[in-house]
Symmetry: C2
Subunit: 302 residues, 2 copies
């Protein structure tokens, strides 16, 4: 089998496409590189480079081989990274971005468990609204983003985590389950702009930005909104997992296509060195909230 060193040589030569330049980057002489490339090709049984062209080019086989070699190098880097962390007793840092309406219950619920699962990891958690979160993610400032789906971006890996019913807080209403009609003559209380819950709330209530609401207060957190509803009536939407005062009575909203729900997803770089820790976190979230509820109705929740 071919050695890691040879793999590195192949990778560097595939970038430089010239033996001399590549050999310098490998810190060996040109004949060494030639020999090792040749040996690698002999071991594998197929040429990796086509030397008949100028400059050098990859064979079809070489093109298929490269992504695998890169993957091995990423894993190899993870080993180095692991050693350094151990050495300097450096804590691995994982930066997590979470939208507020998830963070408000998930952090209290799971932070303790996360610290137990990953005692050597420094968790840096930041509340970000969806748009900011995606932006921060793109700038590689985050290792993991937790938000409401759907989200289609082939550049990041998306892990569906669980679905969460959206309940209504409307103390005025008498019954157990509300219909959509029951909301029409009530006053909605909205989260401030940028919260994805707000967007969906507005779709629900058939509002738009122009529609002036009687009370034009837009709360930054759910507790506040719930408080306002308690005092002044109306209603607000609350994710099922939220921690609220125990004597707050939430009601299900029955729509013809099921109970409204959102899907919570995790996004992270496919090549992240911190993959292992990230997957531990995601699994812990799935286990905590992942009980499938029947009859939910996933909304487009941006």
């Amino acid at each position: 089998m071919i050695s890691i060193q040879q793999m590195q040589y192949v990778l560097i030569l595939s970038e430089e496409l010239q033996f001399l330049r590549a050999s310098e980057r490998c810190f060996v002489t040109q004949p060494t590189l030639s020999m090792q490339i040749k040996k690698a090709e002999e071991t594998l049984g197929h040429p990796i480079f086509d030397r008949s062209t100028t400059p050098l080019s990859l064979t079809a086989f070489g093109k298929e081989l490269l992504p695998i070699l890169r993957e091995i190098m990423v894993e190899n880097d993870r080993i180095k990274w692991l050693c350094e962390r151990q050495n300097n007793s450096f804590k691995e840092e994982i930066k997590i971005g979470i939208i507020p309406t998830i963070a408000s219950y998930m952090i209290p619920d799971l932070f303790g468990e996360w610290k137990e699962l990953l005692p050597n990891v420094q968790l840096i958690i930041e509340e970000l609204r969806t748009e900011e979160l995606l932006l921060t993610m793109e700038n590689k400032q985050l290792d993991l983003g937790l938000l409401a789906g759907p989200h289609y971006d082939p550049r990041v890996r998306t892990a569906p985590l669980f679905q969460e019913e959206i309940l209504i807080y409307a103390p005025d209403f008498e019954g157990e389950t509300m219909e959509l009609l029951d909301l029409e003559n009530r006053q909605p209380w909205l989260l401030s702009k940028g919260n994805c819950l707000r967007t969906q709330m507005m779709a629900f209530c058939k509002l738009n930005d122009q529609t002036p609401t009687e009370w034009n207060y837009q709360g930054g957190n759910l507790d506040l909104l719930v408080d306002m509803v308690t005092r002044f009536g109306g209603y607000t939407l609350v994710p099922a997992n939220s921690h609220l005062n125990a004597n707050i009575q939430l009601k299900r909203l029955h729509s013809p296509s099921g109970f409204p729900a959102r899907e919570v997803i995790g996004i992270f770089g496919n090549r992240s060195l911190k993959k292992a820790s990230i997957e531990t976190l995601l699994r812990s979230i799935q286990l905590r909230y992942g009980q499938q509820v029947e009859g939910l109705n996933l909304l487009n929740w941006k």
Copy 2:
């Protein structure tokens, strides 16, 4: 940096937990194994095994290291696999399971492109309804499953692909957009049991298995249902991407929480040797259907 050979030694020793037995499996003598393990540990700067216990055990560092080594071995196997394929001019086989309501349009749309993207791959495509698909997937009989989400299973990797609006075929109805009320006094035509579209259709129509429908025919494919609707009236639900006769007029269904839609996902084993080809297929699907449509309402679509 530590060699692949050393990694293999570490892995085998971690399984056997005894130098002599492990060295036999490595086809080297015991001192060789001892030396190489020691050298690996020196290179990395930390012990991998705790020799003070009987039998041998892994250190905390070793426990973190192992998954990385396994990943490298998987990639290493992929190299061998690639070489053999090249040798025997063996075509790589990818077994794909697709639910019928997706297959009916996706295969005609994309099969040609897939063959172009992966000329050396033998695609084996099978129509399976969701339940059968998941079962076949679990038995490792499939490399890739394409179905409607949501699906939460930490054992497989889930890739969200696109969301697809569900339209109504109801030629009796006059307007452009239908409301839920408009469906109430019309006759629904259902797919046969096991199709996930059927389940959601029934939720929509507020039917249950007991509710006898006037016409108790349950079609196995959408074309047939559409045909029946044309002849006998009533309505049926149709995924937006379906290929139907051009003069079939489909209508949107407006519900308070948005237009009904389903999310199409791909599931596959995280460690599949065919990962590269599978990712090519998934990307091609995302590109073809992945235009985000606003205001969709993702349904729980099992």
